[in-house]
Symmetry: D2
Subunit: 346 residues, 4 copies
């Protein structure tokens, strides 16, 4: 059955598999000290125009978030994020399991607003009892957000300015970063992210790799981050598995190419939905599209194509997500449209 359930339904981009096969029998040091990991880190530094950045590779997204966040925070601190942030909702309390509170603020289209963050910080420091409270210790944003939306350059700069004013690191969760960078009209680039953020991830799992996220620290990694990663259970013995993949993704612009393709397919899908009169839950310029379906139609469609329940819209309608992966083809999008048409004319 055709699936748009998520963007990790397939394996890896064929070039990645080929590279893994080619390099398979080379003997390489473990724990990320292999040549491919070093090369990948270098290419990422170059793409970020940030030669001083520290780059680590971890296996998964929640793992990266909990490991980076717990390394950035003091025991008395929590991580501020939009209330729809992944760490607040869908990571099973991973951040709290490291002893830190997640401090949610109402998001707008999934985004944390600089003015809301500033208001929170002002309120906190103005409260005479603030030493009895969790200190806001960093800001967490996702880009694209959990709703596929994007920060603009000016939004990102405003957040960064607030964070720097108050001494908070800004962490950008880029589990789907490629789809954001390749979205038409965005003015956010990798170098901009490296300038505005203190830490960010470049997602591989959802952008063509078998697994893996790069954790980038433009101003240097937190103290003994290697040991912290090991302690967190996030260090792969065969670090090459991540090194080879990211080295290939950042060779010849593969990461960007496959991201652009997925966004193009998603736009084709969005236009198809709009042309057929389906309401968007919100206007996403990236590879995740959120559509409002009448519950009966949702039920019928779900027998012929896979998509993801997101939330109830009202008594009789539901928001669902159609995610387009790097592996999506025009045929798959057109196939979906045919199904929509067939179900409608029944």
């Amino acid at each position: 059955m055709l699936s748009f359930e998520n963007d990790y339904s397939e394996g890896a981009h064929p070039k990645i598999l080929a590279r893994l096969a080619e390099t398979n029998l080379e003997q390489q040091p473990g724990y990320g000290e292999d040549g491919y990991t070093l090369s990948a880190a270098g290419k990422i530094r170059a793409a970020c125009e940030c030669p001083g950045a520290d780059v680590y590779f971890l296996a998964g997204g929640t793992q990266t978030n909990r490991t980076v966040i717990s390394a950035l925070l003091h025991t008395t601190e929590g991580a501020v994020c939009a209330d729809t942030g992944h760490i607040a909702c869908h990571e099973a309390g991973a951040v709290e399991s490291t002893g830190h509170k997640v401090i949610p603020l109402p998001g707008r289209d999934g985004k944390l607003q600089a003015e809301d963050l500033r208001a929170l910080l002002r309120r906190f420091y103005a409260d005479p009892a603030h030493a009895h409270m969790v200190w806001p210790g960093m800001a967490y944003i996702s880009h694209p957000t959990e709703y596929g939306t994007l920060y603009t350059r000016s939004e990102l700069e405003a957040l960064s300015a607030v964070c720097r004013e108050y001494g908070l690191p800004l962490f950008l969760d880029g589990a789907r970063l490629g789809y954001g960078l390749m979205s038409e009209g965005t003015d956010v680039t990798l170098p901009l992210i490296a300038k505005t953020c203190d830490a960010f991830s470049i997602g591989g799992t959802k952008v063509g790799a078998l697994c893996g996220e790069a954790a980038v620290f433009p101003g240097g990694a937190p103290k003994r981050f290697f040991t912290h990663v090991k302690q967190s259970g996030a260090l792969l013995a065969k670090g090459r598995l991540l090194g080879v993949q990211f080295d290939m993704l950042f060779t010849g612009g593969l990461y960007f190419e496959i991201s652009r393709h997925a966004v193009q397919m998603a736009m084709r899908m969005k236009e198809g939905f709009l042309r057929r009169g389906y309401p968007l839950f919100l206007d996403s310029p990236t590879n995740q599209q959120f559509i409002v379906l009448e519950d009966g139609e949702m039920e019928r469609l779900s027998r012929r194509v896979r998509f993801c329940f997101w939330e109830k819209a009202d008594e009789t309608h539901t928001v669902v997500r159609f995610a387009v992966s790097w592996a999506a083809t025009e045929e798959m999008i057109d196939g979906l449209m045919r199904i929509l048409d067939e179900e409608r004319t029944r």
Copy 2:
């Protein structure tokens, strides 16, 4: 340079890579609910002769240990192990980072002895102050141990008996399990492990996979283990990566075949060392060999072949480890012997 530094210097067995490539574009559900993961779990249950076992797949060894151990222990409990146990030495405090003490007992050749465990438990319960102490909450053993040694059937049964008498789960860390099971003369089998242990892992990373460990719970997994894994940052979105690999490893006995080969190569290496008069630090029947080298010779050898520092033997000698992976060949072993001979005759 020829390397016996560890058993994770190469990538995966070619059959695994081929299978990943074959299945690459199939759309599969995420988070371990794909068909390959289900199939792999079934094959492991069969190999263990334990149809009721729960089987989960995680990415790495330390990750598996910390996730399983923290799920098995009550807040007041710690994990008892040999003082050379991996969790006590080389996991950067991963278990303690989940809030639990590691309780080391003097090991013998890396093994925890049933009588020592029983003595600890007796002493604990006889101490009128024991409610002020960490409760021994489980026993952790590794098989093969960190020194390549193996429990015998009777040792394993004795440990299991003590554990059951006192209500402690017994967890076997099988990061290199294949090499133990295929060691000549062992009387420990997978079904025996499933009968005597309450949890154990079947290592993939060091036995031919790119990454991955199977966590097996013969009597059923701890409460909400899936969420616990997610919270621990140990859940891969593309669970298929682990499923496909273990499905292949447990098809046609590949796991056992490549383990047997590595052990044969290790025995060829051991004989070579012995014939040349090198003292063994201890007699390991598995893929890790521990040799005592005079420091000058160690220094010279280290320029031509990679091996691993283990510990100082005395002022002028050092224990080093030569690890033989599934990918080792007779040529590699013979190459090492040639180097030994050349260095000796200088």
Copy 3:
């Protein structure tokens, strides 16, 4: 300067000090195994009409909350509470520091509503992704709330019914419990609390003791709670300090008597405020009164009497708290009123 800043500005009720002095040189076992602790526990069981309850004594309120909550929750679980709940706001992330999320729901006058809790639980279990989320593992309420308000019998029974339907323990934080029980018109009694809750505390610190909270478990304490208390740093060597105090508080109804007195003083204060036209922020029937002051008046008053900043009401007004302790006298209340009058007529 006259202070209504909080209800812990004075030491202990004189009868408690006298009893500490009387019993001072008796040799008693440590760690809560002394005769006074046993006696106090018995009297509390009797007052709760719950002969099977386990009773422990801890030194402080945040300590009691974090120790009890972490003992009640599974690693995958969080504590649901009103968004104004003490654990969500003013305990510096104590619950999160034990690895558990606090899950806030919008409160009404500081209270968690049964229907809101039920809706959360329904939504949680209906969400197909709930295994990727923190499980609601218990409900936390405070009585009186942080706003001095009280649950009614029927509200408490409704919450208890939802909790039992879903298998969640209900924990009532009674840091100021006496003031709730002695509030005029309440239909909530200690035996009712023992019937509806799975755990609750009886606050001493804010009700006439030097320090100390009783943690009561009507159906029995969590597994090895004694060791858990010790590990949490919450076990006093001289447990008698808590035992003697609670034994006295529950002798001859002292706990209730001093609570009733404080509530009477608070009502005298409330009437004084109302008579003078001060708006209440909300109508509290207990020893904490929340008044809305114009900022200029607040500033002037603060030079003559101590009270507590609570929150901004609007641009030019502030909510402040006047807390009345067991030690407050009619003279103190009348003194406050005189100050109000003098400031007004300036």
Copy 4:
């Protein structure tokens, strides 16, 4: 029954109770901001000849250890101590519950030796795999130790030198500090401790207070220690309870006077044991005496006097502890001797 079971069997020194009563109805700010706490801190700074020290007051010993230690350590670090150290044995895993390993070294008469610590640190940094291990992050010593023994000035200076060479804070657990400082012949003083240690506690609970330990940081407290204390559940609302007690203990040398008395009583007891031919387990110059008893005699004595089981000496003998508190009298010691004589002549 006469008890030497521990040094916390009685309440507080009468002067402390009197002072609590005198100051009882004064209104004072909460959370350690009262005048008594400020005064006590000042007196402690003066006694330590360390005007820049930060001083905090906490309720108990385990609480102080876990709160201070978790504030001093980085996530990757553990606390090194003698294997008989309180944090390693009798605090129910309190340190581990904050995520940190306790790293025990073989103690000599309960003491951590500078050379052993240095050897551990050298071994650690020389191990090429040390980034995969827990970093030794601080040293913990107790003075007097759990066996009543004392560091000499030169031992303390040697430990301090090693710690400073490697950048480790040195923490001295002074739960029974008074008895150490007043031991005849010691050359360790409070100012010396303040010079050699980065953190230390001055025990009140076991030296005449109802409860309470002072945590002293000669070079300043760790970042946001107040909030950390609150989060740890270690902040008393009525901080005055601790402030008044320590203010009295450090007025007119009361702390030292009652400690000296207890040590004198303990020496009288030790001489009595020696004169009667009882073997000492080790030679303690402080208020705890460890005697080896034949099991039959131990059993008979235990019907007439309370003491504390410590550990088995051999098959037929047991080490027991007789602890002498500030409240012990010559009559009590002589009473014990009479019992010994009567039992012997039976």
